[in-house]
């Protein structure tokens, strides 16, 4: 079994405007993201031979990937929908690498879009997470609840406080304030966080991510072919996944998640470790998710996340800038699709507002996280 590290690259990215897109539909946002990605890579739709997407959240049906491919004028040799919740965008890149490595495709677009801020008039059937009927009868309805269980337990085991989680919300908002394509750009303070209303205790409103409209896409090809593309290619250095439980009812623990083994695999594949990372785009559906993932990724010991996130360490200019685009908390919640495009922009350089550029960005790590804190996927990306 060969190591794929460095053999495959991201050669194009697309991002739509995010936030409230009342005139868009789920379908139109996907197409917009694909077009932006192909334009960025300067390739024609007819040169793309693979497409991966997430199951559309508000209209689940068979093989949305095939529908989308043909809507976008792509005749795919390889296509499927993946269904790992917020771990899907990263998993798509991994599956693209595997398909190209297997000789089944050469140029694969990975796209995800979501319409969750304004109504989508397109008729359809929404997707369910699964096993809700073992939660809802007792009044447990929301992703905020599942993550509040993890926060409550982390606070119990390690003395983490709401004020520690606020550090992540404040730093992420600062980054969003510098990003023209972010939904929430007004800086916030510790006081704002502590005064924000309780949603599911111990999580407050400012611990929660946004409901957004928007989409993003990336184009994956081999390092050999990458030379033919106009923009700087970004190398895929490491990949990993781990899914240690499905529901809250079978989770062995809620304070160490799939990120531990997923990152171990990605580090091993890349020959790199936490100290080599110049930035981290860590899934932040809730502040607690990022805190746990930073620990699971080995940036600090388990339970020390509360100290790690202090004193500007996770802000641009600090030791490990976290979510330099504003993340799901303040830019937009598109299942982490824009964590990947942001990582690519940081590594290409000169593609973000100068105040947001991480100095000497050579290598970065990106995480995805889905379901009831159940699914996890990791990418390590590097400048060439």
């Amino acid at each position: 079994m060969g190591n794929i590290s460095g053999k495959y690259c991201i050669v194009g990215i697309g991002e739509t405007l995010v936030g409230k897109r009342p005139d868009a539909t789920t379908n139109s946002l996907h197409l917009e993201a694909i077009k932006a990605c192909l334009d960025d890579a300067a390739v024609k739709n007819t040169q793309v031979d693979g497409l991966l997407t997430n199951q559309p959240l508000n209209d689940a049906h068979r093989s949305y990937a095939v529908k989308l491919a043909h809507m976008a004028g792509i005749d795919p040799l390889f296509a499927t929908d993946l269904a790992l919740g917020g771990a899907t965008p990263i998993a798509m890149v991994q599956h693209a690498v595997m398909a190209i490595d297997a000789g089944m495709a050469s140029t694969v677009v990975c796209v995800h879009a979501r319409k969750r801020s304004t109504p989508d008039p397109t008729p359809g059937h929404p997707i369910r997470r699964g096993d809700e009927h073992w939660e809802e009868p007792w009044g447990h309805f929301a992703a905020a609840g599942g993550h509040a269980f993890a926060a409550s337990r982390h606070m119990y085991e390690f003395g983490t406080r709401s004020e520690d989680l606020a550090e992540i919300a404040i730093s992420t908002r600062k980054h969003a304030s510098l990003n023209k394509n972010a939904s929430m750009r007004k800086p916030i303070t510790l006081e704002d966080h502590q005064n924000s209303r309780m949603i599911v205790a111990p999580l407050r409103l400012l611990d929660c991510s946004l409901e957004s409209d928007g989409g993003g896409a990336v184009l994956v090809t081999s390092a050999e072919r990458a030379r033919d593309f106009p923009k700087k290619a970004v190398a895929i250095l490491g990949m990993g996944q781990h899914h240690p439980h499905f529901s809250l009812l079978d989770a062995p623990t809620l304070t160490t998640l799939g990120g531990k083994r997923s990152s171990e695999m990605a580090y091993k594949m890349s020959g790199l470790g936490p100290k080599d990372m110049n930035f981290a785009q860590i899934y932040d559906c809730f502040t607690i998710t990022s805190l746990i993932t930073l620990e699971d990724y080995g940036f600090c010991k388990k339970g020390e996340g509360k100290d790690f996130v202090k004193n500007g360490r996770i802000t641009i200019g600090g030791q490990l800038p976290l979510n330099t685009h504003g993340g799901l908390l303040s830019q937009a919640h598109l299942e982490g699709q824009l964590h990947i495009t942001e990582a690519v922009k940081q590594l290409r350089r000169n593609e973000v507002e100068p105040e947001r550029q991480v100095a000497n960005a050579q290598v970065g790590i990106v995480s995805g996280h889905g379901g009831s804190l159940a699914m996890h996927a990791t990418l390590i990306l590097g400048a060439i």
Binding site: T26, D120, E132, W134
Partner: protein
């Protein structure tokens, strides 16, 4: 299944009483008995939700056994926002993950005390709340 204004699945809020694997569980709850599946081969408790084969050894046979009704709070939260009309007047309310000593865990509510009085590690015991169509196991602090 229609969707809400943001394209999300509707919140159901009730158990599926006729789910074949879970039917005996809900029937026992109706008689105020907390039960679980025990593998006839490895003798371990399946956990929840109920399923056809043993999740530990994949044996095909199991029996439903009565549990002690004791539990320990693994984690707890308090909903301050309602996602379902039935809960509008109940906020803030507790939801807990209750670990059962025999094996398995349930999402449930610790009742009979204020949400802020619920603690991780707290010993609790089952109580049953009857509704028109079904009965839910809930938990109260052990005095």
């Amino acid at each position: 299944m229609s969707k809400d204004e943001r394209g999300r699945a509707p919140r159901r809020g009730e158990p599926y009483l006729d789910e074949p694997e879970a039917k005996p569980f809900w029937a026992a709850c109706r008689e105020h008995k907390l039960t679980a599946q025990r593998c006839s081969s490895c003798k371990r408790i399946f956990g929840f939700p109920p399923q056809a084969l043993c999740p530990h050894c994949l044996a095909t046979k199991h029996e439903w056994v009565a549990l002690s009704g004791k539990g320990t709070v693994y984690s707890h939260i308090a909903y301050h926002r309602s996602w379902h009309p039935a809960y509008q007047d109940r906020i803030p309310y507790n939801v807990s993950l209750v670990d059962l000593p025999e094996g398995g865990r349930l999402v449930s509510n610790v009742i009979g005390c204020a949400p802020e009085e619920v603690k991780i590690g707290m010993p609790v015991e089952v109580v049953f709340e009857d509704f028109a169509e079904y009965t839910l196991p809930k938990f109260k602090p052990v005095k």
